[in-house]
């Protein structure tokens, strides 16, 4: 492999401010308005002035497909008054938000983006992710998303939910797991969203509701799938020299690609991009999965939460479903997973999702949340954001 893997090198980047808009099915205002609202909240939370921002990275996946204009990073920089800052746009389909975050961390680590002549101490990077999936009609959005798969897969009418259905069937079959195990993931994540004011689906559902919902791609049903969403999330990143010691630190971040065509994976339940990114991030952060107190897992489909928990080493292969049914991944369990509701219930505005995971972890690690939402005593947070059906995964470890 032509990869340079840095081992045992946690970053000295800290998240000094976070902000987001509520995720919803149909927001008002333009895509740039949405992004600017989240950005201003993050800037205010960090206690900085927009003129302090040296670099802006803007994550958005579908603007062109939904007939919005390109040049988004420049429009956002102008709207926020970031004149002089460097700015660019990042795209990595469903993992756009985490890839933008990854770029922001690298910008600070490289130290080349400082706006002031004195050097790196005061570097400040703003990372914003936004998506307005309501900008197109459902048909256009569905078509745009269906084109994220390999073109020979597209020719067969295969979609991301199709892969979810194939994997879910294979998972239940191989591990002799009951259909209720998938429904339990949905019920848990909906329960976590009820008290989250930024979540799109704050309605509690039980396992029976999920099992009754319409079939999307057998055995997956509607309640196994994330919704389409509008929303934005933003973070301010700072070098630790200038950041407050109470700001959570980016202990590690890593990405990895996998096969584009899902059928090329020898085992449909082995998603190499997930396991590779996970190994790299744990290595860089110098921790094990056991050290994680709270995790945000890319649950675009319920079965993905189970497969990723296993691929990442949180659970042995074939056991995450039992752990879920036993309540281990609930808010009060040994490993709370998706305490903000996950993609399933918080929503999945492609460009914002990965950053909303970071926002959730920061809230958890800073202890900002009400008791009904809080993972008690959380010091180490983990997030994984996945592009396509495992084409590209981005993992992050944050430490209080």
């Amino acid at each position: 492999m032509l990869l340079t893997i840095r081992t045992g090198m946690p970053t000295d980047v800290r998240v000094s401010g976070v902000g987001m808009t509520p995720f919803e099915s149909d927001s008002r205002g333009s895509l740039v308005d949405l992004a600017a609202t989240a950005a201003e909240r993050a800037i205010a939370d960090a206690g900085i002035d927009p003129s302090d921002v040296d670099a802006l990275h803007f994550g958005n996946a579908l603007a062109e497909a939904l007939d919005e204009s390109a040049g988004l990073a420049n429009a956002l920089a102008a709207a926020l008054g970031l004149d002089g800052a460097s700015a660019d746009r990042i795209e990595n389909t469903s993992a756009t938000g985490a890839s933008a975050f990854h770029r922001g961390v690298e910008t600070l680590e490289s130290g080349v983006e400082s706006g002031d002549v004195e050097g790196g101490e005061d570097d400040t990077v703003l990372v914003v992710g936004a998506e307005r999936m309501s900008a197109g009609d459902t048909r256009d959005v569905t078509e745009a998303i269906s084109r994220l798969v390999h073109r020979r897969e597209y020719a067969q009418g295969i979609t991301l939910p199709s892969f979810g259905g194939l994997a879910a069937g294979a998972y239940l079959d191989r591990h002799d797991a009951p259909r209720e195990a998938l429904a339990a993931v949905a019920a848990k994540n909906h329960a976590n969203a009820v008290d989250n004011p930024v979540a799109q689906l704050r309605k509690p559902i039980d396992v029976a509701d999920a099992l009754d919902s319409p079939v999307v791609a057998a055995p997956l049903r509607l309640y196994d799938c994330c919704p389409m969403s509008d929303g934005a999330a933003a973070v301010v990143l700072t070098r630790s020299d200038s950041a407050s010691r109470s700001d959570p630190r980016v202990a590690g971040i890593a990405s990895a690609t996998g096969t584009h065509a899902v059928a090329e994976r020898p085992d449909p339940l082995a998603i190499d991009s997930v396991s590779a990114a996970g190994e790299r991030v744990f290595d860089r952060a110098g921790i094990d999965p056991d050290d994680v107190d709270v995790a945000c897992i890319h649950d675009a489909f319920t079965v993905l939460e189970l497969i990723e928990l296993e691929e990442l080493g949180f659970y042995e292969t074939g056991t995450a479903w039992e752990a879920t049914l036993d309540g281990e991944t609930a808010l009060d369990g040994d490993l709370p997973v998706n305490p903000g509701g996950g993609l399933k219930a918080r929503g999945h505005p492609l460009g914002a999702t990965g950053l909303s995971q970071i926002v959730e972890l920061v809230w958890q690690l800073r202890g900002d949340l009400s008791e009904a939402r809080r993972v008690a005593g959380a010091e180490t947070g983990f997030a994984i954001n996945v592009a396509g059906f495992g084409n590209n995964s981005v993992c992050t470890v944050l430490r209080a």
Binding site: R139, R152, G157, S162, V216, A218, A263, E264
Partner: protein, 131 residues
């Protein structure tokens, strides 16, 4: 520097895999390795795929199945799909019906249209009766 670096007319014309019917895989002229999803070089020996031949897939074994009820615009519903292991390649493709199960032996058969607005037709996966 090779000619293809400077001469536009020497640019390779690769097989248009999007136009290939679902039952055909690529095969390497040198080592015989097969692949199904496009690549610029043979995954085994690294030979350029520019002039790779294609081969018709015979029988394969079902690994996983799904029936998609919510299909993209233009695509007929339900869309029965199966992940199938053939000799040298693994493929996701349309199935004739929703009756396949993991372990079944299948082959490609017939000529069917998937998208209403397009002329393209493909064979679909059909169970082979075990005697």
């Amino acid at each position: 520097m090779t000619d293809s670096n400077i001469d536009p007319s020497a640019a390779p014309t690769r097989p248009r895999e999007r136009d290939l019917p679902a039952d055909r895989a690529f095969v390497c002229d040198d080592c015989g390795a097969r692949w199904y999803y496009d690549r610029r070089r043979c995954p085994d020996c690294g030979r350029s795929s520019t002039d790779a031949a294609t081969v018709r897939l015979e029988t394969g074994t079902v690994v996983a199945t799904t029936t998609v009820e919510t299909t993209p615009p233009d695509v007929r519903a339900p869309n029965h799909l199966a992940l199938v292991r053939f000799d040298g390649v693994q493929v996701t493709a349309q199935a004739a019906d929703g009756d396949l199960s993991p372990g079944d032996t299948v082959r490609f058969d017939g000529s069917h249209r998937l998208r209403e607005s397009r002329e393209r037709t493909d064979p679909r996966l059909l169970a082979v009766d075990d005697d």
